[in-house]
């Protein structure tokens, strides 16, 4: 079994060193925005392999100390800067239990990188302001890891269609920016005035909804929020819906789309279309992306385009996106 030479070199090195037959469990561990990519990674693994996995906040992971953690565990961690203390501690904890650790970070000399058995680099546009190609993003790299593990543990080898799909992703994002731009122009003035904005999604898209909710709306814009699972919506949260309430709904194209569709119908039945921003995968040109991976990469398209929406809102609120923090990295805590 060989992996495509077009795979990231860090991914190839980490997977090359892996004794795949010994891996019985995967732990996806991180905090905040980096944790958000672990949800779609688990979704991809659930779809393709009979390998059990967990997604844990890094501090929860260490304090919980799952009895299952041991030499048969692969622990995949992520921190953009590699300086997230809880994530580094989680890597050290996992290694002390005999697990194999792979750390994703943009900083190869960072504490997280030093704490892991293997390091996979990635690029992030919002740290440097320099546009990147999505094939070099954290999503792309973790998907390569997951489908590599699938192939190495006896599952179907879909690594070639995956890497070809990831290579086509940036073009799809660029086209999506044009598709969603009029929608963002229309909705931004109304959403900029909101005190509460919910996000709704399911399946592969839930992580993107979570990240937009906690890292963009709450952290960067101090707007109250929750990422509501599209079906959980019907078991409590939907009672807050009225004509004034603002929602961002992600309608992806994975196997859970029907859940998001049902939420869409309900939102438009009892809410106001002017306050319900729907990002629909059916509006996207996904040329070059294999059908079997479209549902998996669409959340990254949604999230990437939503940054433009966030910047529009920030401008209207006169609330800086990246500088306006009260606490994060401004004080010690």
């Amino acid at each position: 079994m060989t992996l495509p030479s077009t795979f990231d070199k860090g991914v190839l090195a980490a997977l090359g060193a892996l004794d795949a037959s010994a891996i019985h469990h995967v732990f996806f561990v991180a905090c905040g925005g980096s944790l958000s990519i672990m949800h779609p990674a688990k979704f991809l693994l659930d779809q393709h392999a009979a390998i059990a996995s967990d997604v844990y906040n890094a501090a929860e992971f260490v304090a919980r100390a799952p009895k299952l953690l041991g030499p048969g565990s692969l622990v995949i961690l992520c921190s953009m800067t590699g300086t997230t203390k809880e994530t580094t501690a989680a890597a050290e904890f996992a290694r002390s239990k005999g697990a194999t650790t792979i750390g994703l970070t943009v900083e190869p000399g960072s504490p997280l990188a030093n704490a892991c058995d293997h390091v996979v680099g990635f690029e992030a546009p919002y740290t440097t302001g320099v546009p990147i190609d999505a094939v070099n993003s954290n999503y792309s790299r973790i998907y390569q890891l997951v489908m590599g593990v699938v192939a190495l543990t006896g599952g179907e080898n879909l690594t070639e269609p995956l890497i070809e799909s990831l290579a086509a992703l940036q073009a799809a994002i660029d086209k999506a920016q044009l598709v969603f731009a009029p929608l963002f122009d229309d909705y931004a003035p109304r959403f900029a005035k909101e005190n509460v904005v919910y996000t709704v999604a399911s399946g592969a898209s839930y992580g993107a909804a979570y990240s937009f909710s906690i890292c963009v709306l709450m952290e960067m814009q101090w707007i109250n929020s929750q990422a509501i699972h599209a079906n959980e919506f019907f078991h409590g949260p939907f009672e807050v819906l009225d004509k004034d309430r603002a929602f961002i709904l992600m309608k992806g194209c994975d196997s859970t789309r029907a859940l998001e569709d049902r939420a869409d119908t309900f939102l438009h039945r009892f809410g106001s279309a002017q306050k319900i921003l729907v990002l629909d995968a059916e509006k996207l040109d996904l040329d070059g992306i294999y059908p079997q991976f479209r549902g998996n990469v669409v959340p990254l398209i949604f999230f990437d385009t939503l940054w433009r929406f966030a910047y529009k809102i920030a401008e209207l609120r006169k609330h800086e996106m990246l500088e306006a923090r009260r606490y994060m990295k401004k004080i010690s805590y």
Copy 2:
């Protein structure tokens, strides 16, 4: 290996029929409030057994169709009335894949009960208005299932101390009502005026925070909310904190307490003590509950006592707790 005769008869029957050596994975599946008890159940399993498990919303579970689901899976489902369509569909789906299904419900003749291999009954006070003993609650029954599975699969047999602890739980709840009553009297007038109230917890308590957020605050009181994980709080959500923002923090006594403690310190440093309601396990009399299970049962004490707080808020808002719904069970959707 025999289980205590004091275990619930439904639990004993379900576990007695189980080929425990064939079970490799546990899926905890439900919706909304019933899903909230699956989080502490997984926490308990993670602590005591090297058995992998997942917690899924029922519709997500079916649409995702994890490749791991099969004859080696035990699927534990819950719906109070047994009429939750998504949960019944999940039971049918799991059985079609060869999994063993156990359904928890108060209604033995319900669709969920009919769809499962085994049925475990429980009692719920808020359907009938008649007080119950917590040993008959859904929490108690699912904990008996989990620790039974642990014992039957070669883990330590802690079923006796568990059932003795559960038998002592109602007395602890009754005493907790008295401990928290002055706190609720103090905080209710302020919280009744809030448009947004967050809950914060980790570990075994996260499910109770989730349930109070989506089923009580959002569903019953139309108050905006999110159950924030106590460590995720520091990775985005904390930026919404100011002197006016209302939080309910659960400080349990499981292995994640340090995470909740850290959130407590931060909340009081930058928020207003008048707007931060802290339920602290250290204030409780947990007599008769074994130390090793205190962290696991405390969330039920928190949740049960918080109902009183919710009723106080409802009265002040002149917003009925159980009747005031716009959508749930009032219209078809």
